[in-house]
Amino acid sequence: MNLSDIRAHFPILRREVHGRPLVYLDNAATTQKPQAVMDALVDYYGGYNSNVHRGVHQLSQEATDAFEKVRLQLQAHVNAAHSHEIIFTKGTTDSLNLVAHGFRSMLSKGDEILVTQLEHHSNLVPWQMLAQHSGATLKYVSMDGQGALNMEDFHAQLTAKTKILAFNHISNALGTINPVKAMAAAAHALGAVVVVDGAQALPHSAIDVQDLDVDFYAGSAHKMYGPTGIGLLYGKTSWLEKLPPYQGGGEMIAEVAMEKSSYAGLPHKFEAGTPNIAGVIGWGAAIQWMHSVGMDQIEAHEHELLQYGTALLEAIPGVKIYGKAPKKAAVLSFNVAGLHPYDVGTLLDQMGIAVRTGQHCTQPIMDEFGIPGTIRASLAAYTSKEDLDALARALEKAIALLS
């Protein structure tokens, strides 16, 4: 599919903002949705909406089949060994909380949890809460000035005391791609569980959880062209079996008496209550859409644009890019000397350019750089060179206005 074909699938890209064509560069926060996703939602709600599982009637059967088909799609998408290793959650944050919560009864004083300075709050606060409840100590791997993890520090911090290693595959604030496979192997060699926040990696490249050999992998549909309110937790069978259930309710039980219940098997044990059925079905359409473009094409396209955008921005006097790790994905985080990101963002918005400004839920990174935040332009499969040209031109105008 060429770029204009790809863009044609996204109705929102045809809208205007403040009288200018929308240039959407806030994809790390959430991506736009192709028409196919909206169609899937309308087909579902208008055609076979029903609660799933346990229903003997036709609608329920159709909804359940469509719902479970997406589990298989996701299994294939991340190459999980079993479909029951795909747990549907509300999103990455929910997934990470599910795991962190499950370990409350398995950690104790003296144990260590290792995270990194690059984490999104969603992969930091749950571990702080776990540390607080279990008495375990939270440690973290520092990053270098380029925004790459300090691997020496990683190996120094990772010890036999480390029970859990949790880190993101790709940093949402800086774009750093972390060496998941090597880090997982090192952690496993010392007996630690490996939990990966894949929220930013899933939209940009093909993921193979078996090849990476991680124990848990979390993601959100809304960052990968799918609906809001639905995400996944991949977990290795052995760990999912060890982990206690997170929420109690319908669907997740085998037998219920007033006093005590026994829990259902995987994946239902972790899916209490009516799931986000439409969300799952819409997600299926999004994944299909991604494959119709091709994960490799998406990755290559974004890589090319990242280099193009980096060169454009660096040519503008006063612009400083944060995050220049050797392996880096579709994020351009930057500041302009002397200017507050909020001011720059506000003016860019007036020119139709949607970027995010602020801390990007990564306060520890900002604290390390000693800045209040950055301006972040983040790319997707539909981002064009024209988008980045428009950004650069608007940025120059904003700088002129503010100086």
Binding site: V52, H53, R54, G55, V56, Q61, A254
Partner: protein
């Protein structure tokens, strides 16, 4: 003894006379009523297959090189389905049972009953039937 394939063909022929769903289900219900009840001593936890809504029991023994299946369910349509599912495999050698695909349900328009998302325990029963095939094969071999 007829082969599995012959029995499948017979069933398809038998159902080809029904031209509406009512006749088909009437027949299924009749099959369900005819299925001999499993003796109470075999209706035990270890033979039970849990479906959310319909309970299924399955027991198997090896007799003269063929597998003898006995089964039961609490719902009558499920019993009818069981009667139908067991007909081709009853008394067949383990190797044939282990490899059987139950493809005849498709032309009968009854595949939905075996959908992995159905709450009736039949799919688990089919898997269990095949597993008995594999297990008895191993025992002999």
């Amino acid at each position: 003894m007829e082969t599995i394939a012959q029995r499948e063909a017979e069933i398809i022929e038998e159902f080809s006379f029904f031209d509406d769903w009512m006749d088909k289900y009437e027949h299924l219900i009749a099959l369900g009523k005819e299925l001999p009840a499993l003796s109470a001593s075999l209706k035990v936890e270890s033979n039970q297959i849990k479906g959310c809504q319909s309970q299924v029991w399955l027991h198997a023994t090896l007799e003269d090189g063929g597998i003898r299946f006995e089964a039961d369910a609490d719902a009558i349509i499920t019993r009818g389905m069981i009667a139908l599912l067991l007909r081709p495999v009853q008394g067949q050698p383990p190797s044939a049972v282990a490899a059987f695909e139950f493809g005849f349900l498709d032309p009968l328009g009854l595949t939905a009953h075996l959908s992995p998302t159905r709450a009736n325990g039949l799919l688990s029963m089919v898997k269990q039937i095949r597993l008995y095939g594999v297990a008895f094969q191993a025992k002999r071999g």
